[in-house]
Structure formats: structure tokens, C-alpha cells
């Protein structure tokens, strides 16, 4: 199919565009968590993906009735998943980030990578390479079609899982705008700009730190929960530690693209990256293995070389 110019709009533009945007929504959700931690602590949280994978694990366990969980309906399972994510975020903050607060940044980076490996291995202990635990697609097997009918191969077929990705991102976007006007949101922004000044003004820096990471955990969990439906649960799926590549890498690149200091940039950058990646996948010749990866890597390098503050970021 690659290289053949399809007459229909769906095949050549519509499907990649839709795919790209939906993927971008998933990555954007992760990217917001990444940017949040970057603004607050000045580091890249390599464990962000694993907050999502842990959430997915708990949700799958709840839905399938594994281990200590009785079988539960999907919404409850998802709520449990979200809680698990928040717990992971808060635990990471208390046990890893806070003790290492004064360490050089390389140490903190290594620490978050260590947390990622730890969580992924922990998950693997429970499910191993067993692919039989499938999280059901959201909304059952209802399918819709864009750019053609359901039977048209050039049409974009999607279900509620894809819709949920877009909806969740929109919800989070609106939520973010609202949240950052509240006392807590402003507190986070203040601490990220100048912790000493924030402390002087009476903001409880420790509690804000916990809140930030709890939020990061929540966002990561949400990403994991909209990533896993419709497919088998695999340990480390969001980071790609054991599965090859996961959404996490794309989320990082999307965050860079949008400017690491800009929360709206995280959306925009991820959506843009989604489109770039999707079209690359569609049009890169099959003879070049990993063509998609090459394009995405190239984009990362170009942005960092020529516009390091990203599309929407400001000079730090």
C-alpha cells in the first residue's frame, strides 16, 4: 500500500490525520504530566509512563477479577486504576524525589529511570509475559467510520476508545485551565518559579510538591487507562520498557516540541507530533526500516537545534 497513491481522501489524508490526532491526544495526556514535573522540579520524570502502566495493571486486575480483586465493572476498575496512579506519584515524591532534592539533576534523572524499571519489573512479577489479560474496549464493539462507510478500507474506523482519548484530553485541558486559577494551581506555579519566595509567602512547599506529583500520577494513570482498552495488558506498556516502544517516548518529544515550560504547549506539541508521526508512517517507504522512528527522531533533533524553547515555550 505504501507508495501507492490512493484516490480517496480517507486513505491518503483522512486516516493518517485522524490516527495522528487520536494518538496525539494520548501522548498529550502523558506530556502534560511530564511538563508539570519539569516545571516543578526541573527534571524529566522517566517514570511518568509507569504511573500509567500501574494504573492499567490495577484496572485489568479489577476487571478480570485477578489476585485479591473481585470482578468489578469497568468504571470502578478505572477509578481504582486512577487511585493506583496517584498513589505511585505520591510515593515517588515522598520516597525518591524529596530525599534527593539537593542532589545534582543527573542523579534525579537516574532515580526516575530507576523507579520506572522498578514499577515495570513489579508488574512483570504479577503477569509476566502473559498476554491473555485484555482490557475490554470502552463502549463495547461499537464502531464508527469517517471518510467512508464501515466497509470501506480507506475509511477511518474508530470506537469509543478513540473517542474517549479525545474527550479525556479535552476534559483535562479544560480542567487544567480551571485548576491553575485555584489556590492549589497557583501554588504549584509559584513553587515552580521560586520555591523560596513561595515559602516566604506562606505556601506549604512540601504539600505542593506532593500535590504536584499526585497530579502527575493522576495524569499518567489517565493516560494508561485510555491506552490499554482494546488490547492486552503488558507490563511496562506505557513506557515501552518490555514491549519495545510505548507512548511515553512520543509524549516526551511532544512536550519538547511544544516547549517544556508550557502546559498548553504539551497538547499542541503532542498533537502536532501525532500528525507528523502518522503521516511519516503512511508515506515513508517500506524499504527503510524504522522510517517513522527516524522522522520522529529527526524532528526532535531539529527542534532542539533550532528552536529549543519549542513552539510555544518561553525563554527560561
Amino acid at each position: 500500500m505504501h507508495g501507492m497513491v490512493l484516490a480517496s481522501f480517507g486513505g491518503s489524508v483522512g486516516v493518517p490525520m485522524a490516527n495522528g490526532l487520536v494518538n496525539g491526544c494520548l501522548w498529550g495526556l502523558l506530556a502534560i504530566g511530564i511538563v508539570l514535573v519539569y516545571k516543578a522540579n526541573g527534571i524529566f520524570n522517566f517514570a511518568q509512563g509507569e504511573f500509567g502502566s500501574m494504573a492499567a495493571l490495577i484496572a485489568v486486575a479489577a476487571v478480570d477479577g485477578l489476585g485479591p480483586f473481585p470482578k468489578m465493572p469497568m468504571p470502578i476498575a478505572m477509578i481504582l486504576g486512577l487511585l493506583a496512579g496517584v498513589l505511585c506519584g505520591v510515593a515517588t515524591e515522598r520516597l525518591v524525589v524529596r530525599p534527593l532534592f539537593r542532589s545534582p539533576r543527573a542523579t534525579l534523572l537516574v532515580a526516575t529511570a530507576g523507579v520506572a524499571l522498578f514499577l515495570a519489573s513489579l508488574q512483570a512479577l504479577f503477569t509476566g509475559t502473559d498476554l491473555s489479560h485484555v482490557f475490554p474496549a470502552i463502549g463495547g464493539s461499537h464502531h464508527f467510520a469517517l471518510f467512508g462507510s464501515l466497509s470501506n478500507p480507506d475509511a477511518y474506523i474508530f470506537g469509543w476508545t478513540q473517542i474517549s482519548r479525545v474527550l479525556v484530553l479535552l476534559a483535562v485541558a479544560i480542567g487544567a485551565v480551571v485548576f491553575f486559577r485555584t489556590r492549589y494551581g497557583l501554588g504549584i506555579l509559584a513553587v515552580s518559579q521560586d520555591p523560596v519566595a513561595a515559602n516566604t509567602v506562606g505556601i506549604n512547599v512540601k504539600r505542593i510538591s506532593m500535590l504536584t506529583w499526585g497530579l502527575a500520577g493522576l495524569l499518567g494513570a489517565a493516560a494508561g487507562l485510555i491506552d490499554v482498552p482494546g488490547g492486552p495488558y503488558q507490563p511496562g506498556l506505557v513506557s515501552g520498557i518490555l514491549t519495545g516502544v510505548g507512548p511515553l517516548v512520543f509524549a516526551f518529544i511532544g512536550a519538547v516540541l511544544g516547549g517544556m515550560t508550557s502546559l498548553p504547549g504539551a497538547f499542541v506539541g503532542s498533537l502536532a507530533l501525532g500528525l507528523i508521526d502518522s503521516f511519516a508512517g503512511r508515506y515513508m517507504p517500506a524499504s527503510v526500516p524504522g522510517g517513522e522512528a527516524l522522522v520522529v527522531f529527526g524532528v526532535l533533533l531539529l527542534v532542539l537545534l533550532f528552536r529549543p524553547t519549542g513552539l510555544l515555550g518561553r525563554e527560561t
Binding site: P99, L100, R105, A124, T129, G244, G290, L304
Partner: protein, 359 residues
């Protein structure tokens, strides 16, 4: 038993242990080879992370590149083993230069990200090119006949590790080594002292790449095969974990860390008591424990090391290493020199040492 003979015993003991691994049992040599290759990977990461303070999460890509080209030149072009080894090192270094040239101009955080993506990209593109992969089973990398016996190959790997350690020791005592250290501590100060920060970061990364490439070549010949999927993101994390747990910045430490992890991975599955422990769990969990336990333990050790023992194993080993290389076992209790005592007193700080001769 005076100090000299005690030290000699320790060195002899170390050599004996190394020989025993080579001679003992059919699999010991293979395990020893894995340990040696891991040690080289750890030494490689040590140069960029331990000495220069930059994190690379794509080193598995550099190791894989060395493995890929070593296998390729041997099989497709029939080049001799030594050349293949050199090519492995060179291509590792070259790959490092290519990514370092761009990545090192930007802050250290982004290096971690760029190397991460670089490693993944290599895995999906270069390592999948059919010219190099020879089909799904992976490109062959056959050892020359005189190296076919496992224990002989193990000794070769050992020699390479020793040579790299020696060159590394020369590096740390030269101006480049000092430049790396200054960069790690404070780039502004390094620049004020005339150090070309970007240039030396690139040098560190390149040297690191060469060692990684050699490690890869040795690995390819050890398994006599290059398989692209061996070099995945998990491996990048394992490399960093063993370097930090061993003690980033210390040669002996990172080698010890590498040996520890090689043992964890290779022996644990065969280690009787652990097997029985795993057998206590329902079969699936038990199997998972054996397969993923080492990673979990490793990650946990990493976090514990960072929190409580930042010097890694090297911190514990320091007295032993110091003793074996000619110094005293215990840190000598030094009296501060006169000049220090006077300065403290001038500043109004009480000291209870009389100013005067040091021990």
C-alpha cells in the same frame, strides 16, 4: 603476617577467583564472559556518567552498533576477528559522535532524552536493515577456531577488560580526566579554567562509545550472533543501574556492580535455593520471579543506593581497594596542617588541635 604479604595474598586470591570462573564447570566461562561484557558496558557508562556527569539512556544502541558491525564485517566480508573487534569499537565511537555532536550542545537533561530516542531509533532502523540482520535469526558472528573454547574466549574478554581499565586509569590522571571532573561539578568554573566544555563532553561521549562498541563486538562473538532485539530500552536501564549501584566514578566499583548484575541474571535462574523459593509460588508467579526478579532487585538496589549509599559498592570497597594498591586499610586520622588551624583561629573558630606538625 606483615602488610606486604597480606596484600600479595589478596591479589593472588583475586587471580585465583578469576581462574576458577574460567576453569570451573561448563557454564562458568560463559557466565564469566557475560560479566566481562557487562563490565565493559559499565566502564563505558562510567566515563560519561561517573566522570562527566551526563546521563545517556541509549547506550544499548552504541553497544548494539558495535555488535552489528562486528558481526557484519566477519560474516559478509570475512574480516579477521581482531579487525572486527576494532570495527566494533570504531563504529560505537562514530555513532556516539553523530548523536553527541548535536546532543551535547544542549543541557544534560536533553542528552538523556535524545540518547533515549536515539537508542530506540537505532533498534528500529539500523538493527532491522536486512543487510545486517541476515534474516530473522540474526547475523552470525563466528569466532575464529582458536577462540571457540569458552574458557579461552573468557580469558580474552578478561584481557580486554584489564586493558580498558588501564587506559581508563591513564585517562583519569590526564588533563582530559580532570576536565571531565570539572565539567561534572560546575561547567562555568570549567570554562573559566579554559576547558572547552562542549568539546570535552563530546570526547567523553566518544570514548564511552568506543568502549561500548568493543563490548558489543565481544558480546556478538560470545553468542556468535547478532540479534537486534537484544538491545532494547530495558538494557539501557540495566546498564545505568549496575553502574550506579557499583559506584559511578569508580573503576573498581562499576566493575563490581557489573559482576553483581551478571551474577544476578545468569546464576539466579540456576541457583538452587532461589529456585526452590520461586517454586513456593504458583507456577506462573514463580517463573516470573525468576525472569524478572533480577530487574526488580536491581531497580530497588539503585534506589537504595541513591538514597543511602551514593558512592555505591565502591564506597564499601574503598578500604579494600586502597589497601590492595599500596595504601593503608583504614583512613589515617590526620591532624589539620598548621596553616588550616591558623586560618580557623583567625576567623575566630576554636580548634582543639595544637598548631604544629601533622602525623
Amino acid at each position: 603476617m606483615n602488610r606486604l604479604s597480606g596484600r600479595a595474598v589478596a591479589w593472588v586470591g583475586l587471580v585465583v577467583v578469576i581462574l576458577v570462573v574460567g576453569l570451573g564447570g561448563p557454564n562458568a566461562a560463559a557466565h564469566g564472559t557475560t560479566a566481562a561484557v557487562y563490565a565493559l558496558a559499565a566502564l563505558s557508562i562510567n566515563i560519561i556518567l561517573g566522570y562527566t556527569g551526563q546521563l545517556s539512556l541509549g547506550h544499548q544502541g552504541l553497544v548494539g552498533t558495535g555488535a552489528l558491525f562486528a558481526a557484519y564485517v566477519t560474516t559478509a566480508h570475512g574480516l579477521p576477528f581482531q579487525i572486527a573487534l576494532a570495527i566494533g569499537g570504531l563504529t560505537g565511537g562514530l555513532a556516539a559522535v553523530l548523536v553527541g555532536f548535536v546532543a551535547l550542545r544542549i543541557s544534560g537533561l536533553y542528552l538523556a532524552l535524545i540518547t533515549l530516542v536515539f537508542g530506540l531509533t537505532l533498534e528500529q532502523s539500523l538493527f532491522e536493515l536486512t543487510t545486517f540482520t541476515g534474516g530473522g535469526a540474526g547475523e552470525a558472528a563466528n569466532r575464529p577456531s582458536f577462540l571457540l573454547p569458552n574458557d579461552r574466549y573468557y580469558y580474552l574478554c578478561l584481557v580486554v577488560v584489564v586493558v580498558v581499565c588501564y587506559l581508563d586509569s591513564r585517562l583519569t590522571r590526564s588533563k582530559a580526566g580532570r576536565a571531565f571532573k570539572a565539567i561534572k561539578e560546575d561547567e562555568r568554573v570549567a570554562a573559566a579554567m579554559g576547558i572547552n566544555v562542549v568539546g570535552y563532553k563530546l570526547l567523553a561521549f566518544t570514548l564511552s562509545g568506543v568502549v561500548a562498541g568493543v563490548a558489543g563486538a565481544l558480546f556478538a562473538f560470545a553468542t556468535q550472533q547478532f540479534v537486534g532485539s537484544d538491545f532494547d530500552f530495558r538494557l539501557a536501564l540495566v546498564f545505568v543501574v549496575m553502574t550506579v549501584v557499583g559506584g559511578a566514578g569508580s573503576r573498581a566499583g562499576v566493575v563490581a556492580g557489573a559482576v553483581l548484575f551478571a551474577i544476578l541474571h545468569d546464576f539466579i535462574a540456576a541457583f538452587g535455593p532461589f529456585k526452590s523459593f520461586a517454586g513456593l509460588f504458583p507456577t506462573q508467579t514463580g517463573a516470573n520471579l525468576l525472569q524478572f526478579g533480577p530487574d526488580l532487585i536491581g531497580a530497588l538496589l539503585l534506589l537504595l543506593t541513591l538514597a543511602f549509599n551514593p558512592g555505591g559498592l565502591a564506597q564499601q570497597m574503598a578500604p579494600l581497594v586502597r589497601w590492595m594498591t599500596g595504601g593503608p586499610f583504614r583512613e589515617p586520622r590526620r591532624r589539620p596542617p598548621a596553616v588550616v588551624v591558623e586560618a580557623l583561629e583567625a576567623a575566630g573558630i576554636e580548634t582543639d588541635e595544637p598548631a604544629g606538625a601533622e602525623t
